[in-house]
């Protein structure tokens, strides 16, 4: 047997070696931002979101200040308590006063911390949800030409990741106010208590500052690398799980294991490096704390000896030193958070600023059910870019109640024509009229209500069968939905589902066959009960049984409606009242089946090739017929 001959597969001969096409998992490399930490334009935009909650923000800033003040006060009170009468045989009333003051400080501290944390947290969450909603709402308005060009994943990362880093920023920035005040407060209090001792003790602070400045850039890179490799490893694992059948099918396990090992191991190294960078600060801070305490003990002791200092002050100093370095630590971190937030803020405003190119006119008409249901294309020129028209001066009229089949090879402009009826895009010149009105003069909402659309690939949402069929027609009852399902022949399989109409569709209906999903999308269009139906017939092959059901359902759907169908199947095409043949964006033939056969042009040629569907005809055969057909 010579099936495996010339170039034998060499996997076994190089155990553990990585193949030239080493790919496991994918990862979008998000660049770490080392940008500006303050950008007034972005901050203004962010502030617009925070503004509605400004009273809460003011309240939380006040409580942060109060909270910080009590934190500063507590060591002072203890120091005072020691110095006023806390000697053998001293006066206990002073102590009582001090403890009283302490109790007050503690109560205020309790209240302030409660207010601060609830307010800051709630505001950050609210702002975050508002931002996400504003972006989401904007995406509902932007033109489809923008959406066509943009990956859903990219938008999602803005809706999720960027919004989350804004939340981090909002939460921490109020707290940073507290940190700054605490830092300044400690400096002031220490200097006031005893200038010389204060100055000496504080001399350890700049050391930490300088160390942090040198430490921060490499540390940030190390943390970022650890974060990156972690998500790379996670991505590779997710891919391994999602594609496991294909992996086993193609016997790629060994190769993948080695490649994954490389990623996981690299992740281990970066994690350890990140960990070292984080931990190296510990002995530095501890040593500085020790040094500060040593200074207080030695210098403070000799000051006591000279009678220049009371013992309580030393205790107060020692208390402050315990929390001396916390604000410096969090403030230096805040810088990176701000850098990230500015970048995210800019990305968020980018989404908010995408122009919604299709808007209702101020005096737009509401299209009602009693319009005649006609569709007319008047000398329409349209293209996705100005220099490459997809439709070239196309004119035709679909009379009320008529069914028109749009036919033509791939790229002839059928789908674009269909999109224009719904005003997904704007024409470059000419006009599309629905019910006698230019679509640009009608409100988009009422246009959508009167024009139902069935797309080639049925798209279902997570939710019950009932929710999917009813979709946004809130007035539809369960009976309406069942009636629609029966009409299109979907009732039978829906009833067989474990929960009937309440069964939840997993992952957009992946538990249904393609044909069944198609039928559901028909039922959805039927419930919408629009006067005009625009339908893109599915090309995918569906098993013969469901296929017939779909053909029957199509008849029901078109009954009593104006229909524009992008048709692929001969049965559909032949049954249409009129056929419009498009080629390269031009309308080249129109008429019913018999008329077009008599014409003996492109349609007749396609029909005579005897394929069961126009889509089955190889491209080059159509291309060959092009010039001839155009000349007729």
């Amino acid at each position: 047997m010579s099936a495996i001959e010339e170039d034998e597969r060499d996997v076994a001969s190089f155990p553990g070696q990585r193949p030239p096409r080493a790919s496991v998992g994918s990862h979008r490399i998000e660049e770490e931002v080392f940008g500006k930490a303050y950008d007034p334009k972005t901050v203004r935009r962010i502030w617009a979101f925070v503004r509605p909650y400004r009273t809460k923000i003011y309240l939380s800033v006040i409580s942060v200040l109060v909270f910080t003040a009590t934190q500063l006060a507590i060591p002072l009170i203890i120091g005072r308590a020691i110095d006023t009468g806390m000697v053998k045989g001293g006066d206990a009333t002073h102590l009582l006063w001090a403890v009283g003051a302490f109790a007050v400080a503690v109560l205020v501290n309790f209240g302030a911390s409660y207010v601060q944390e609830t307010q800051v947290g709630a505001v950050a969450e609210n702002v975050l949800f508002d931002m996400r909603r504003a972006m989401f709402a904007q995406l509902q308005r932007v033109s489809l030409s923008f959406m066509d060009k943009t990956e859903v994943g990219r938008l999602m990362s803005r809706l999720q990741g960027d919004v989350n880093s804004m939340q981090e920023f909002l939460e921490t920035s109020v707290l940073s106010v507290g940190d700054i005040v605490l830092l300044v407060g400690i400096v002031v209090v220490l200097l006031t208590l005893d200038f010389r001792l204060g100055l000496l003790t504080l001399s350890t602070m700049p050391v930490l500052f300088i160390v942090r400045i040198f430490w921060l850039p490499p540390a940030k890179r190390a943390f970022w690398a650890a974060h990156e490799t972690n998500s790379i490893t996670a991505g590779a694992m997710a891919e391994g799980i999602n594609g496991v059948r294909t992996v086993q099918n193609l016997d790629r396990q060994k190769v993948n294991f080695d490649l994954y090992d490389d990623k996981a191991y690299n992740n281990l190294l970066t994690q350890l490096t990140g960990s070292r960078f984080a931990q190296v600060m510990v002995p530095i801070v501890d040593s500085l704390t020790g040094a500060a305490m040593a200074i207080v003990v030695v210098v403070g002791g000799s000051l006591v000896l000279n009678g220049g200092l009371e013992i309580g002050v030393i205790v107060t100093f020692l208390f402050y030193i315990q929390r001396f370095f916390d604000p410096i630590r969090s403030l230096t971190m805040q810088y990176s958070i701000m850098q990230r937030a500015m970048t995210s803020g800019r990305r968020i405003t980018e989404v908010l600023d995408i122009p919604a190119s299709i808007n209702d006119k101020p005096d737009a008409v509401v299209l009602t059910r009693d319009m005649d249901g006609s569709v007319e294309f008047k000398d329409v020129v349209f293209g996705y870019s100005a220099d490459r028209p997809v439709l070239k001066h196309v004119s035709f009229k679909v009379k009320p109640g008529e069914t028109v089949a749009l036919v033509g090879p791939t790229g002839s402009g059928k789908t674009s024509a269909m999109s224009l009826v719904h005003r997904f895009y704007e024409v470059q010149s000419g006009a599309v009229l629905v019910g006698g009105h230019d679509v640009r003069d009608i409100t988009q909402e009422s246009l959508g209500e009167q024009v139902a659309m069935v797309l080639q690939e049925p798209f279902l949402f997570t939710g019950s069968v009932f929710d999917n069929i009813r979709y946004n027609k809130a007035s539809a009852t369960l009976d309406d939905v069942i009636a629609a399902a029966k009409a299109v022949g979907a009732h039978e399989f829906i009833s067989r589902l474990p929960g009937g109409y309440d069964s939840v569709l997993e992952q957009r209906g992946s538990n249904l066959s393609l044909g069944q999903r198609q039928l559901l999308s028909f039922a959805r269009a039927l419930v919408a009960d629009a006067k005009i139906l625009v339908l893109d017939e599915a090309t995918a092959n569906i098993d013969s049984y469901t296929e017939r059901q779909i053909q029957k359902a199509l008849l029901i759907l078109l009954e009593g409606r104006t229909g524009m169908v992008i048709a692929h199947r001969l049965a559909t095409i032949r049954g249409a009242d009129r056929i419009i043949v498009l080629q390269n964006g031009e309308l080249i033939e129109t008429g019913n089946h018999d008329e077009l056969m008599d014409l003996n042009g492109l349609y007749a040629k396609l029909y005579n090739m005897n394929y069961s569907s126009f889509d089955d005809i190889p491209d080059e055969m159509i291309a060959g017929s092009g010039p001839k057909a155009a000349s007729t």
Binding site: L268, T403, G575
Partner: protein, 618 residues
């Protein structure tokens, strides 16, 4: 290899051995098993634990030293300058020394306990990945991919971090609270009790808070992912949304999902805040009591100011670790449930693996034979295949047709042993497929699936997925045969164009052609098309077929399809119904027979006049 770093190979160890080590502590309770698994790094673990003990003892010395220094400073007036200053200098030096030492031991404690966690994480990831790849289709059929990903990310983290957040923290808190309590109580039992009075309260509150937060965390994740799903589906199905003018409806849907998530996050903020505020309050209350009683003792002359100060500093030092008790409790709870799930997965028996010492498959003539094959899916009581027998020789094409659910795909999946037969046997050149090595079997049999997975990488890498060493000419040849080459050359970077989730998206038909090319690269002896041309138009399919005949004429080809035009040219056609072959023969023979096959043929070719659009309306 770009990611590889040289050196420090000792950290990496032998990857295969790590996978094998996943059974360490098998049969033990999850927490014990995690501990045993972590202790496979004895050096790092001992350093971490030793450093923790030393660091906490040093930590405890600081309040004492401070108190002592305060007393020295206070006594300085009575003892006189000379000796006192000397003594103070000594105290300061010791204080500095202890602080520096504490810093370094804390560094060692944190670093080495994290290192154990990262190391364990690395090894578990390998074991997990390996297991995912080895488990058979029947396992993956019953387990949701999302659950597996959660297990590989979150459960694994829960297990990995148990050493540092659970075990080491336990040692730390035991020493800190235990030794600390002893020191305090032995100095002054009343004041000691007061100073420690906040500990039980804080420990209780912080544990309750952490456990509640953990419980609601899962719900929050669900709500957040529901919200994400609303957004994703909206953006993915934007045309449907626009077509039905459902923007307002979708916004309302988003608002509902978003509001639920928001409310829950507010609840969580409240839980956290109520507890942290209460904990701080109890701490300060205890401090106030110490100040009052201690102050009175100083006034009564029973205690020095330094001792009081050391009590107070001791409390500040103890505050943070005690608050973290909740994290420790949470770590135990998390590791226990996560470990349960993760280890159950790692211990999952492989349904399909090589029998010990099996030989490789040797393809000589290339004859595939089904001998009375029965198959029932696990848990099902009705057989999917019920006595299927047929034979296919090299160069032959066998078509398999039947209604959905008749067992066509199952039949295809049995040949490369994605499932094992329940009865009968499948042989290739007389060798039972269950008695040869899986690797050799799967390299000889290629199944082109209906819905093949597209990896996010270049088209070239995707085509060469099964054989990444293959030459470029071979890849192009395969793409040409699959009628994909012209399309690829029209892409922005032809064969280097990235496709998949994060690249250019391919249509159903293009994906199917890619997966055909992928299988062609492997040059299998047996090739099975499992409904893998459904989205490819008949013309293209015809060209693929003729190209493949040129490519290799001596392989067995199995075509499973419901479109008769895909398989009517086959040498033999099997009509499958409810797991049994009810008709077999060539296209002509079956048509002449006038049975099920010919009825289906009629259905697919008969002019469908009764179904033309006009007929119902007229």
């Amino acid at each position: 290899m770009t990611t590889e770093k040289v050196g420090r190979a000792y950290l990496r160890g032998d990857s295969r051995a790590h996978v094998a080590d996943a059974h360490v502590g098998k049969g033990q309770k999850p927490l014990l098993r995690i501990t045993l698994y972590s202790l496979r790094h004895p050096w790092q673990a001992s350093i971490a634990i030793g450093a923790t003990i030393i660091a906490s003892v040093l930590q405890l010395m600081i309040p004492r030293l401070l108190g002592h220094a305060v007393d020295q400073a206070q006594g300085i007036l009575s003892t006189g300058a000379e000796g006192a200053q000397q003594a103070l200098l000594w105290s300061a030096m010791i204080l500095l020394g202890v602080s520096v030492a504490r810093g370094f031991f804390t560094l060692a404690q944190n670093y080495y306990s994290e290192a154990v966690g990262h190391q364990v994480g690395y090894e578990l990831r390998l074991a997990f990945y390996d297991k995912v790849q080895r488990l058979s289709y029947s396992y993956h059929d019953k387990v949701h991919t999302g659950d597996l990903i959660t297990m590989g990310l979150l459960d694994l983290d829960g297990v990995r971090m148990f050493f540092s957040t659970g075990l080491v923290r336990t040692v730390l808190l035991t020493v800190l609270i235990g030794v600390g309590a002893f020191m305090l109580l032995s100095t002054d039992w009343l004041l000691g009790l007061l100073a420690l009075s906040f500990v039980p309260f804080v420990a209780w509150r912080s544990s309750v808070a952490q456990l509640t937060l953990r419980a609601t965390w899962v719900t929050l994740q669900d709500k957040l992912s529901a919200m994400t799903r609303v957004m994703e589906e909206n953006l993915g199905g934007i045309r449907v949304v626009r077509a039905f003018s459902a923007q307002k409806f979708e916004l309302a849907k988003f608002d509902r999902a978003s509001k639920e998530a928001l409310e829950l996050s507010h609840d969580r903020v409240n839980i956290r805040v109520r507890n942290t505020s209460a904990m701080t309050f109890s701490f300060f209350t205890a401090m106030g009591l110490v100040l009052w009683f201690g102050g009175n003792k100083v006034i009564a002359g029973d205690m020095s100011v330094g001792t009081l100060a050391s009590f107070l500093t001791f409390m500040t030092i103890l505050q943070m670790p005690v608050r973290q008790l909740g994290l420790m409790v949470n770590s135990f709870a998390r590791a226990s449930t996560c470990g349960d799930r993760l280890f159950a997965f790692l211990d999952e028996p492989l349904a399909i693996e090589d029998a010990p010492g099996v030989p490789d498959l040797k393809v000589t003539k290339g004859t595939l034979k089904f001998e009375d094959v029965h198959f029932t899916y696990p848990g099902a009581n009705h057989p999917t295949l019920d006595g299927v027998s047929f034979e296919a020789k090299a160069g032959q094409t066998v078509g398999i047709v039947g209604a959905p659910g008749s067992g066509k795909s199952t039949l295809a999946h049995l040949i490369p042993r994605f499932y094992d037969v329940s009865g009968g046997k499948i042989t290739i050149d007389g060798q039972d497929v269950s008695q040869v090595s899986l690797q050799s079997l799967r390299r000889s049999v290629a199944v082109v699936q209906q819905d093949s997975f597209l990896f996010t990488t270049t088209i070239e890498n995707n085509i060469a997925y099964g054989d990444p060493w293959s030459k470029e000419t071979k890849i192009e040849k395969a793409a040409e045969s699959a009628q994909l080459h012209n399309y690829i050359m029209g892409l922005p970077a032809d064969y280097d164009t990235v496709v998949g989730e994060r690249g250019v998206s391919l249509s159903g038909g293009q994906r199917q052609r890619l997966s055909i090319a992928r299988s062609l690269v492997l040059k299998p002896a047996i090739m099975v098309f499992d409904d893998s041309t459904a989205a490819i138009d008949a013309g293209t399919e015809h060209r693929i077929r003729s190209a493949m005949r040129r490519y290799a004429s001596n392989r067995v080809t199995l075509i499973i399809s419901h479109r008769l035009s895909s398989l009517m040219h086959a040498d033999t056609i099997l009509f499958l119904d409810d797991g049994k072959i009810v008709e077999r023969g060539s296209h002509e023979e079956l048509l002449a027979k006038g049975g099920r096959y010919s009825a289906l043929y009629d259905l697919q070719t008969r002019p469908t006049e009764d179904l033309e659009i006009g007929s119902a309306a007229q």
